[in-house]
């Protein structure tokens, strides 16, 4: 009988339920969308953050931090140790090789310009955008254009395969009055080697130290300095997950983890575990996470997730209040019915049960529909903000349905107290 009442009340009073159901649908879809996105936002943001540059630095193990002031390296090259250029390809052979989005080697040598007072300029050799072979004959395109999309060139990028093209950093170009198309002759500053004639193909803006240097294909820097096949360092851009407790513990050294933690750490794409694996792959190198980048990725993601939680709670409260006021109206509208049930001998709790069950049903239906709508909404948001779809996590469905039912119940709880205060003698005789 109870179920019958519930069903009849629900289906014969459909219009009344429609408003409540749509309130829940709205809230549920919002919550679903936010949940779906916040699960994915870490990954998405992390990819996004890659456009802000590399997050790992690969340097020779014994090298001290380079002493660099105003873009000029005061650490003399002599006695310096190098990385082998050909070793760098091993980065793509580690466990997390798919997460290595790109790398760029660097070799910075002091150079002099012929003529015009023989100005001393640093010459930085790197990859601009170049196909690298690894693991047999797989290829992958990498270089500063891949990992530092914010590097901008007025003019053209040099060709990685040529040794007669350079970019002039914006500051340097300003100081020496260089422009695209100018011809220069550069010479190694530390030892008398063959001077090289080069063409400035463009002016480079990076916001960093490179603006005070000539930036050339790696091969030119190697040839001019005689460091064939050597590089000083490499910047690596890796897709990482935000830092958490485990990774922070690991920062104190991999030894501080027990074997279980170690396994979990090793198999998670933390910037530190990727650094660890890079060092395993290239024993002569030390991988240094650039913590500012790694950490700010984590905090930005955390803040976004916090924001989503706040919005979710707001949606929860707003729809709860909406349900609440709808419930008050419903109870007013149905006061005769309630009075009648009581007059027929229904206890208060029996009336409560009917109304709360109706609410729960509204929550269930609204939650299910809202889940569907929310999943679509999440895709839309994903496409418009990150330019890619968001993966849907099935766990969102039960969580959301439960939340929707809770909203509906919580919203109904307070107004249903009106039921107790409703005296059948008053409503049944039309007195109120």
């Amino acid at each position: 009988m109870f179920l019958l009442m519930l069903r009849q009340s629900f289906f014969r009073g459909r219009r009344r339920k429609l408003l409540a159901t749509s309130t829940i649908i709205l809230a549920a879809s919002l919550i679903t969308a936010l949940m779906t996105i916040s699960i994915d936002v870490g990954d998405k943001m992390s990819r996004e953050m890659k456009s802000y540059g590399a997050n790992l630095n690969l340097v020779p193990k014994s090298e001290n931090l380079p002493l660099e002031i105003g873009g000029v390296d005061y650490n003399p090259l002599k006695g310096e140790v190098f990385l082998e250029e050909q070793d760098l390809g091993k980065m793509k052979e580690i466990f997390w090789h798919n997460n290595i989005a790109g790398y760029a080697p660097f070799l910075k040598v002091p150079a002099k310009l012929e003529g015009e007072g023989g100005a001393a300029v640093p010459l930085v050799g790197t990859y601009f955008s170049r196909l690298v072979k690894f693991a047999g004959n797989e290829e992958f395109r990498t270089g500063v254009r891949e990992i530092n999309p914010f590097w901008q060139v007025k003019g053209n990028w040099p060709d990685d395969g040529r040794t007669d093209q350079v970019l002039a950093g914006a500051t340097l170009a300003h100081k020496l009055g260089l422009k695209a198309g100018d011809r220069l002759t550069v010479r190694y500053a530390l030892a008398p080697t063959q001077p090289e004639a080069v063409t400035v193909t463009g002016i480079l803006t990076t916001g960093g130290a490179e603006e005070a240097a000539l930036v050339a294909p790696l091969a030119l820097a190697q040839r001019i300095s005689g460091h064939t096949g050597k590089v000083q360092s490499a910047s690596v851009s890796a897709l990482t997950v935000p830092e958490d407790r485990l990774s922070r513990k690991a920062r104190r050294g991999a030894d501080s983890l027990d074997s279980l933690e170690y396994d979990r750490w090793y198999c998670t794409a933390y910037v530190s575990s990727i650094a660890h694996q890079l060092e395993e792959a290239i024993p002569s190198a030390a991988a240094r996470p650039i913590w500012q980048v790694a950490a700010s990725e984590g905090t930005v993601v955390n803040k976004i997730q916090l924001l989503m939680v706040v919005v979710t709670i707001a949606a929860f409260i707003a729809s709860g209040l909406g349900i609440s006021s709808l419930m008050v109206t419903t109870i007013m509208e149905r006061s005769r019915e309630i009075g009648l049930m009581k007059a027929l001998g229904a206890a208060d709790w029996e009336v409560y049960l009917l109304f709360l069950s109706e609410s729960a049903l509204v929550g269930l239906i609204g939650g299910l529909i809202g889940c569907g709508a929310g999943a679509l909404l999440a895709q839309l948001i994903g496409l418009s903000i990150f330019g890619s779809t968001v993966s849907f996590h099935p766990i969102v469905i039960p969580v959301n349905v439960v939340i929707s039912i809770l909203i509906a119940l919580a919203g109904s709880l307070v107004p249903s107290r009106l039921i107790t205060r409703l005296f059948p003698a008053e409503v049944l005789h039309g007195r109120k």
Binding site: M1, Q8, G13, R336, E337, H429
Partner: protein, 220 residues
């Protein structure tokens, strides 16, 4: 002498400084049909609300079927209401989204036992054999009131209390309802009926006249 089903002793009801009922002594015996009459505002509805345990009294005693209702808790009064009393109102109060049959079964449900056949039988008795599956909105006023009477009968209550059951009906429907009450009376049911209509009261065993909250006449 039949046993006393309903008895009030000095029953008084106050709303603030209004005293619609002022020291009513009344007895109803098993199988009796008592009509309560009186001018508007004399306290008839207030009286019936108390008799049907929908309201509490301020002073005095009200004993229904051996239970002193002024002594029991609100919860127990709910039980008394559903065990002992069949109620018919002036307005036809039916649950709008339940069919005629379901409305009758609802009373069975709160009473504790659902028996569909029983419910159908009672509806047949009130002449609604083709109307089980109609919603209240699809029934005429007279038909709705007959559903209400069927609902009041279904649980074999100790007493049937009706507040102007024909007040909203035309003459032909009034006659149908009146015939029912006669029939029920003939069966030996105990009935207390509030009415304005002297014709209705004529068929009662006796009439209690109220005036300003006092009994002014017990007529046979």
């Amino acid at each position: 002498m039949q046993k006393i089903v309903l008895e009030t002793v000095g029953l008084t009801k106050r709303f603030g400084n209004v005293t619609p009922l002022d020291g009513i002594d009344m007895q109803v015996r098993e199988g009796e049909w008592v009509a309560i009459m009186g001018p508007s505002g004399s306290g008839k509805t207030t009286m019936l609300n108390i008799l049907s345990c929908l309201d509490t009294l301020s002073e005095g005693k009200y004993i229904l079927d051996g239970i002193d209702t002024s002594q029991v808790s609100e919860k127990e009064r709910v039980v008394v209401r559903r065990e002992k009393i069949g109620l018919v109102f002036q307005q036809f109060h039916l649950v709008p989204y339940l069919t005629a049959l379901e409305n009758v079964m609802l009373a069975q449900y709160y009473h504790g036992m659902i028996d569909r056949d029983d419910a159908i039988e009672v509806l047949n008795r009130v002449g609604l054999s083709h109307r089980y599956d109609h919603l209240p909105s699809q029934l005429s006023g007279g038909e709705q009131q007959r559903v209400c009477i069927a609902r009041a009968l279904i649980n074999q209550p100790a007493i049937i209390l009706a507040d102007e059951p024909t007040g909203n009906l035309d003459e032909s429907n009034e006659q149908i309802i009146l015939d029912f009450f006669k029939e029920l009376h003939a069966e030996g049911r105990t009935i207390v009926l509030v009415t304005h209509n002297p014709e209705l009261a004529e068929f009662a065993d006796r009439t209690v006249r109220l005036h300003h909250g006092k009994v002014v006449q017990h007529a046979a």
